[in-house]
């Protein structure tokens, strides 16, 4: 063995051999493997199966519910309000805290990857995981809602693509927000839940300007401006489910103009996401991550 050690150190480390991109890609795949490892994956999978399960249950017990109403209820209400924040909270809050709690962060800090890049790459991995979850399980939900229903599957496929894209954008934004919060507080879960309940739950449902500060408002606007949620009633006439549920006054062109346009909403979510990510990276650069040494307080 001692002979073998002779070769260690024989090679000279040169800067040209070090690939920053390669290191970042390894960190990205390492984070994805962490996400996939263990029973957490099973719990999250079960959680995301809920909308599909509810859809099947409702179709079995309440056959008169129009599929579009069920789609709105599950894909546009249940998923963005309950599942997306939870999934984002689970993965984004652990970007640094998990590594710190497990004391494995040392192995990352000792590599030629700047701290902001460690955060950025791990945030990207969290976004990827949650987006894949959303895309996969929303597809299952659509399948559960529309299988054997009297609808055009082409239209359903288009609606699915729209919904999945919107949800993926929303969950990515939530990841950025919660990632940033996790660098500011150790009580990220409780703070995150309070944020979800008060800001994304309460404020977003108030027909006032304060909802402009919520992620879910823009998500809803993107959905509302790109998809239709008008249900035809048996008694005749149609009902706009989204306008009622989301407190969107769409009765006149002037009222509609009060809400941001589709492109503006997408732009704002992307910018908010990037601002939070940059802030998070900057905070990481400033911070020390204590392992086996006392925190400053």
């Amino acid at each position: 063995m001692v002979d073998a050690i002779a070769t260690v150190g024989a090679k000279v480390q040169t800067a040209s051999r070090v690939s920053w991109v390669s290191a970042s890609w390894t960190l990205f795949t390492l984070t994805l493997r962490q996400h996939l490892h263990g029973q957490r994956w099973l719990v999250v999978g079960l959680l995301f199966l809920l909308p599909a399960g509810i859809a099947l249950l409702v179709r079995a017990t309440a056959p008169n519910v129009p599929p579009l109403a069920l789609e709105f209820l599950l894909v546009m209400m249940f998923v963005p309000q309950a599942l997306l924040p939870l999934a984002a909270l689970l993965y984004a809050s652990g970007i640094i805290q998990d590594e710190q709690e497990e004391q494995t962060i040392t192995y990352l800090l000792l590599r030629p990857i700047p701290k902001w890049a460690i955060y950025g790459v791990k945030l990207l991995a969290a976004m990827t995981t949650t987006a894949v979850l959303v895309v996969a399980f929303v597809a299952l939900t659509y399948l559960a809602i529309y299988a054997n229903a009297d609808v055009s599957y082409g239209e359903v496929a288009i609606r699915y693509c729209q919904a999945a894209s919107i949800q993926a954008l929303a969950v990515a934004t939530y990841c950025s927000v919660f990632g940033l919060m996790s660098l500011l507080t150790k009580r990220i879960l409780v703070i995150g839940i309070l944020y979800t309940a008060i800001v994304e739950g309460l404020f977003a449902n108030l027909p006032f300007g304060i909802r402009l500060l919520t992620v879910i408002y823009y998500t809803r606007l993107i959905a509302y401006r790109s998809m239709s949620f008008e249900v035809t009633r048996r008694r005749g006439g149609t009902e706009d489910l989204a306008a009622v549920a989301w407190q969107l006054d769409w009765t006149s062109a002037a009222k509609q103009a009060e809400h941001p346009q589709l492109s503006t909403s997408i732009f704002l979510l992307v910018v908010a996401s990037m601002v939070c990510a940059v802030l998070g990276g900057w905070l990481c650069m400033q911070r020390e991550f204590h392992v086996k040494t006392p925190e400053n307080n």
Binding site: M1, A6, R17, A23, T106, P114, T293, P294
Partner: protein, 308 residues
């Protein structure tokens, strides 16, 4: 001599707790032992030197570059951390390979480096087992492997021998000594004094966040003049010799060793003491078969300095 690691007036506070207190230190190339009791600031020093912590005051440099937020420097630094933490679900091979890739080595070179390093730490036969099933010795070896895999110029080892069996300890010490002989700079912290002593005569001694001593163990010992030196004399007529020695002013105490094989003498003036010894035989016929100092070892230095 060029300092590989330098601390210039470095202090580190954790709120009201002080981890390192106005430390100015230059660690030369080669193997250096970092010693100190629990809470002395060894881990803080190593975390400052590897850029994990930002000094509250002062500047830390490694290989002439400031370390805080200097990720590029990490290509030339390796750390074997104290904590027994791993990605437990990985195999040993996978862990070392991942660390090599995280260090920026291209795929092929990372594999080759992993193979070399895993062999070097004697883990080839266990490389495909999950780390969670490793013994303490195996964990220490694989932890050392991740620090070596990118072939750093400076290696920081935080308690690398903790919990290892004698065989693993011997192997790890061989690796460290070989690295030193190959021109690598290694800073090893340890509580096991005799092991550090057998690794290197160069030590840095910390206590309560302050630098207490640095340099060669023997040189340090010589500087501690105010503390009595303990000198062992082997003689046949122990008690007679003891009575004679007690008449000397610079002898502070004499103790007869077990079995009356010799004496333990305490003196503050060892050179004068050694100078007068031949006269005992020549003038009084007292035979002394052996003379040696009992406290040129690290244990004694450690005790003297930390106790103050």
């Amino acid at each position: 001599m060029t300092a590989v690691v330098s601390f210039q007036g470095v202090s580190k506070w954790y709120g009201n707790v002080i981890g390192i207190n106005k430390l100015t230190l230059a660690v030369p190339a080669g193997v250096t032992g970092l010693l100190g009791p629990n809470g002395a600031g060894k881990s803080t020093l190593l975390q400052l030197a590897t850029g994990q912590l930002r000094p509250s005051q002062g500047l830390v440099k490694v290989l002439g570059e400031a370390v805080w937020n200097n990720a590029a420097l990490n290509c030339r630094i390796g750390l074997c951390p104290e904590q027994d933490a791993f990605y437990e679900w990985m195999t040993g091979w996978d862990f070392v390979l991942t660390c090599a890739r995280l260090s920026g080595l291209p795929r092929k070179e990372a594999r080759e480096a992993t193979a070399r390093t895993v062999a070097a730490v004697g883990m080839i036969q266990h490389k495909d087992r999950a780390i969670r099933g490793y013994s303490k010795g195996m964990r220490q070896r694989i932890k050392l492997a991740q620090a070596l895999v990118h072939e750093p110029d400076v290696l920081f080892l935080d308690e690398p021998l903790t919990g290892t069996d004698p065989v693993a300890r011997r192997d790890l010490m061989d690796i460290i000594q070989r690295l030193g002989s190959e021109g690598k700079s290694v800073l090893v912290s340890s509580h096991v004094l005799h092991e550090v002593q057998s690794l290197t005569p160069n030590i840095v001694l910390l206590s309560r966040g302050r630098l207490v001593a640095e340099g060669n163990v023997r040189q340090i010992r010589e500087l501690i003049d105010e503390h009595p030196h303990q000198i062992v004399l082997h003689a046949e007529e122990c008690r007679k010799l003891a009575a004679r020695l007690l008449t000397w002013d610079d002898v502070e105490g004499v103790r007869v060793l077990e079995g009356e094989q010799g004496l333990m003498v305490e003196t503050r003036k060892p050179d004068a003491f050694y100078g007068r010894l031949p006269a005992l035989y020549l003038e009084e016929g007292l035979t002394i078969s052996a003379v040696y100092s009992d406290d040129d070892n690290l244990e004694a230095v450690f005790k003297y300095l930390v106790r103050k």
